[in-house]
Subunit: 684 residues, 2 copies
Amino acid sequence: MSTDPTDPLVVFTPSGKRGRFAVGTPVLTAARQLGVDLDSVCGGRGICSKCQITPSYGEFPKHGVTVAADALSDWNAVEERYDQKRGLKPGRRLGCQATVQGDIVIDVPPESQVHKQVVRKAASARVIQMDPATRLYFVEVDEPDMHEPTGDLERLKRALSEQWQIDDIRADLTLLSKLQPALRKGKFQVTVALHKSHRDAVATVIEIWPGLHESGLYGLAIDLGSTTVAAHLTDLETGEVKASSGIMNPQIRFGEDLMSRVSYAMMNPGGDREMTAAVRDAINTLSVEIAAEAGIDPTLIIELVFVCNPVMHHLLLGIDPVELGQAPFALATSDSISMLARELDLPAVNTRARTYILPCIAGHVGADCAAVALSEEPGKSEDLALIIDVGTNAEILLGDRHSVLACSSPTGPAFEGAQISSGQRAAPGAIEAIRIDPVTKEPRFRVIGCDLWSDEDGFAEATATTGITGICGSGIIEAVAEMRMAGLLDDSGLIGSAEQTGTARSVPEGRTHSYLIIDASAEGGPRITVTQGDIRAIQLAKSALYAGARLLMDSRNVDKVDRVVLAGAFGAHISPLHAMVLGMIPDVPLDKVTSAGNAAGTGARIALCNIAARAEIERVVRQITKVETAIEPKFQEHFVAANAIPHKTDPFPELARIAPLPQVSFNTGGGDAEGGGRRRRRRG
Amino acid sequence: MSTDPTDPLVVFTPSGKRGRFAVGTPVLTAARQLGVDLDSVCGGRGICSKCQITPSYGEFPKHGVTVAADALSDWNAVEERYDQKRGLKPGRRLGCQATVQGDIVIDVPPESQVHKQVVRKAASARVIQMDPATRLYFVEVDEPDMHEPTGDLERLKRALSEQWQIDDIRADLTLLSKLQPALRKGKFQVTVALHKSHRDAVATVIEIWPGLHESGLYGLAIDLGSTTVAAHLTDLETGEVKASSGIMNPQIRFGEDLMSRVSYAMMNPGGDREMTAAVRDAINTLSVEIAAEAGIDPTLIIELVFVCNPVMHHLLLGIDPVELGQAPFALATSDSISMLARELDLPAVNTRARTYILPCIAGHVGADCAAVALSEEPGKSEDLALIIDVGTNAEILLGDRHSVLACSSPTGPAFEGAQISSGQRAAPGAIEAIRIDPVTKEPRFRVIGCDLWSDEDGFAEATATTGITGICGSGIIEAVAEMRMAGLLDDSGLIGSAEQTGTARSVPEGRTHSYLIIDASAEGGPRITVTQGDIRAIQLAKSALYAGARLLMDSRNVDKVDRVVLAGAFGAHISPLHAMVLGMIPDVPLDKVTSAGNAAGTGARIALCNIAARAEIERVVRQITKVETAIEPKFQEHFVAANAIPHKTDPFPELARIAPLPQVSFNTGGGDAEGGGRRRRRRG
C-alpha cells in the first residue's frame, strides 16, 4: 500500500476498505494488503479463479472517485484462456491478473469472499460465516536437489510457509505414501488440504492432489440421535448443503431409549462394544449413501462434526456408558474431542478425515445441547429465552446475556408416538393435526402426505394410497389438547364418559374411556382412538418437560420467561397453542413461541463450517450452569404439579386470554386417578 | 526455603546443594525447593519409595555441619509399614516422610535420582542421562460431583496440573475406555504414563493403572538394518537393558542389498507393501520374543525408537522407496517422525506406545547415521575424527567441532561374508582371525566359538562340534591383509602362483590362483580357500569405503585425519592393522583406530532414554554437510585409486613404519588385471 497521493486509489466494496497502490499492482495484492476478504486457492497464479472481482466504472460520489474505462489493465492471456475454457461471468475479472492503472472501485462478489456467509433456509436469520478448519492450498514445491537433500515433505512445508505464511505443519503417516507420486505427477505443483486446529497453531496436511484440485472438499454434520442419525453433506468452500439424509439408529434393537441401552451394556458383557460397532457401521453406511446422493466421491469427505447426547457420545467413542446410568452420572470426558474419523472405524470417508465432537455440558446434557446453544445463542439473548429440544430426552436451556442454565429431562418416547395406542412415527398416513368441535365434539384431522382436512372434499381419494395409519407425535399433542378444550377431558387428565361428555365418541374401554377419532374397521379400515392410557403417557412426558423448565426458572429465580423456542425436527411441527393448553411449556404470549427447526443439526453445521465457533462453544459450555434433574428434590414436586392439564397450580394467564378451558371434572371416585398416581410413583 | 539463620541447614550430596528449612519440612520438599534431583512417582504420599535418601550423621567439616542423631524425625508409621512390606536398605529413609529436625547432610543415592546416569558397558566413556519422554505419575483425582459435572478425564487433567504442574494434557481415544474403570478400581488414585513431546509442550496420557503402578515401563531401541533387526529392551526408569535380541530382516528374500529391494518394489506392483508387511511383522515378533526373554508383559513397552537407513526407513513407514533408487534420491521426508506404534501395525506392544524415528541426513545417509552422530558426537570432537559404520552400506562421518560431513558408500555385502567363495555370516565355526607366516606361508586361524588358534593343542577337539565352516567378514579382511603381508598377493590384488610365491598353498583355479587355508576334503571335511574372485570382491568393497572417506576429506580440504572410529557390530571385530594394510581406512597411528561398538544402536538407546537428545540430534543433523557419493565425479577417481592394496597413490607412512609390505608383482601381462578393470567399470 502506498502513501504517494498521486498513486491510484483503490476502493473495495462491500467492505469500503481503500488504499493507494502503485500502478501495476494486481488487484489481489491490493486486497490482501488491505485485509479485504478475497479468496484464492492457487495463490495468484491465475488457475483457480477463486479471486474473481467486478470492477465498477463511472462516477462514485460516495467514494469520491471517478473510474475511467482504463482503470484496470486489459485482459491478459491468462484471463483470455480462462474465459475460453471455463467462461468468466460478464463484467468479471481475475483479481490476480488485473492490475491497477487508475482510481478504481472494485466489488468482491459473495462467492469470491473467503468468509462467505451462508444464509440458512430456516426461520432464524442467523447466517453461518464460512471459515472451515480444512482449506485447499495450491503450492509450487521446489524440486529435490542432491546438494541440499531435504525430504519432499520438508520442501512442501517450506513452500506452504513461503507461499501461504503457514508454519508448524505436520503430516499424517498415511499421507507420506501419497506425497511423492502426487508431487511428481503434478510436476511439483500440488493442491493440499490443510486442517488447522482451533486449539493450537498446528496445521496438518491431510490430503494432496497433483496440480489444482477442483472437485471440492466436503464435510458431514451429523446429529447422532437415539432414534435417528441425520447427516448434512456440506461443501466446505461454499457452505452449501449438497445432500441431507437420515438413517435409523440401529442401536434401537438393543433398547428404545437411552437408559435401556445403558442397561443392555450393564447386563451383557461386551454389549457396549456391540452397540458401538452397530452405530459406527450405520454412520459409515450413511456416509456412503449421502455421498452417492450428492454424486461425490466419499473420500472427498474430509471433516465430520458430531452432536449427540452423552450416552450416544460414549457409545460412538467406544466408551462403556455404564457410569451414565447411575449417579453421579460421570462422563468419561466432557471436553470437545478432535480426532481422526478412522479412529471411529469409518472407512468410507477420507482415511485422514478429521472429526470434531462438541463438548458435553453434563452427564445428562450432551453435545447436542451444546449444539443448540451454539445455534440459538441464548447467552446473547436480550430477553429471557427458554429453548426446548423435544425428544426422547429433552434438552432445556434457559438464559439471556446474564447467564445460561441447562438441564435434560427424561420425557420418554411418547412425543414420538411410541407408547401411544395408535401412535406411530411421523410418516405418510399419520394424523399430524386434529381439531375437535367444542359443540358437536366431532373431530376433523389432517394426515401427513395430504394438505386436505378430513372433512374437505377429496380427502378420502387423496389419502387412499397412504391410508390413515395412526397418530404421530404432533397429532397426539393436538388430540389431547383439543380434547381438553372441547371438554372431553378434565384437568386431571380423565376422559369423560359418553354421558358426561354428551358424545357417543366417548367409548368405554375397561374401566376407562377412549375418544374415537375414526372407526372404519367395519370396512377393514382403521380404528383410531385416544385412550386413557395415551393421556397418561402424554401427561408423564409433558410433566417431565415442564418440570425441567420450571427447575431452571427456579434457579434463575423467575416464574415466567419472555419467549419459548421449540427446537428439534419434531419441535417445528408442534402447534404452540396446543403445547400450551397441554402445559408442555410455560405460559407466554403465543407469538413468543417460535420454532428453531433442527437446532442441534444447525449447531453441528456451524461447527463444521466455522472453526472459531468451536472455540466459542467450548468457552460458552464452560459458562453454562448445569442443573441435574435426577437429584433435585424439587423436580419431583414440579413433576407432580405439572400432571394436571395445563397445570395444577401455575397460572396460565396468556392461555386463559386466548383459549379459556372448560371447567369440567369427571372423577367419580373411581380407580383411575389412583392409576395415574401409581404411574407417577413408579417413575420416581 | 528459609532465610532464618536459626533454621536447620540441609546439605544434599552429591550435588552439594544446601539451604535452611523450617523444622518439620519433609526432606523431599527441601530437595524440590533446592532443585535437588530426587525422584518421586507418588508425589510424596509414601507409597512409591522412589525418594529414598541416606542421612549422614556426625562431623562434616567440609560442609561446616555437625549432624546430631535426632537431625531427622523418627521413623513414622508409613516408613515402618513400607519397611515391613518391602524392606528399606539399612540407613535409608523415605524422603517424603522423614522431616528435618536439625542440621543434616543427606545423600541421594543414584537410584533415587530422576536423571540417573547409565554407564555404558562399551569402550566409550559416554554415559546416558535418564530423561525419557514417558514417565509415571501417581495422582489422586477428585471424585465426580453432579453439581460440577466435568468429565473424569478433565478431573484427571486437573489433578496432574495441581499435583505435578503439568498442563496441556491430551489423551488418546483408546485410553478413554480404560479411564473410568481404572479410576473406580483405584478409588480415584491412579498411576498414569505421560508422554511428553520434545517438539512442543503437549503431554499425552498413554496408559493408566489403578493405584500405584509398580511393574515399570519399558522401551525398545531398534536398529533396523538391511540384514538384521536388533532390539534393546530398556527399563525406562533405570535405563537398564533388560534384554537384547536380534532377528533376520525377512526382506532378505526380496533382495540381499538395498538396491535390489528398491528394484523389487519397482518391478513388482505392491512389492513395497509386501516388504513393509514383512518387516513390521518381524519387528512385532521380535517385540514378543524380547519381552518374553526379559519376563515382562509386552504391553508395558510404551516407547520405541528406530534407527535405520533411508530405504529401511521408507519401507518401515509404508512409503514406496522407488525415489531412493534413482537420482536425485529424494526422501519422502527427512525430519524425525513421532507417531503411534500401532500406525506401524505392531500389535504386540502397548496400543498407545509412541514411536520416534531419528531424522535422515540425506537420501543415502539415514537415521542410522544420525544415530551414530548422536552416539559418537563428531561435532564435539577436538581432533578430526573419521567415523565409519561398516555394513552393506557404509555410513561415514568426518568432523570435529568446526564442522561435520557425512556420506554413505555402497560397499556391498562382501564385508559380511557374502559374495566370498567360502564366506559366511559370523557364526560358530567361521574363521574370524587368521595369521600367515611370512616365511613358510603357512596359515593358522581361529574360529568363532573357540579361543584356541588352529596350531594349538586341542583345537581339533574344541572345534569338533562346530566344525570349520567358512570365513566371516573379519576373517576375510585378515586373510587378504595377511596374504598381502606375506607376499602372496601383490598391490594390484593379484594372487601369485606357487612358483611366484614358493608355496604349494597357492593353487591354480582356472586362469587365476587361490590360497588354500585348509583342505580336509579327503576326510569329508572342509576345503577353504581365498580365491582371486574373493580378493576382487574385497577390493571393490574396501575401495568404496576408502573413496567415501577420501571424498569427505576432500570436502574438508585435508589429506589425513587424526583418528578413525570403526562403528557397527562388525566394526568391533575388525583388526585395525589388517584394515589399514587392506587400505579400508586412511593411514593413522594404530592406537588412533578405535571401535565404538554398535554406535547406531547406542544412538537409538540414547534417544530412547533422553528426550533432549531428540531435539539435539535434530539440530545436529541440520548442520551436517551431506556429500552425495553417487554424483561426485571424484568418487570414481578415488575408487579406482583405492583398488590397490593398500592404495595406488596415497602414502601410508604410519603403516609403513609398523608393517612394511613386500614389493611383489605377479602381473605377467595376463588377463586378470583386465578382469578387475571390467568389474570396476561395471560398478560405475
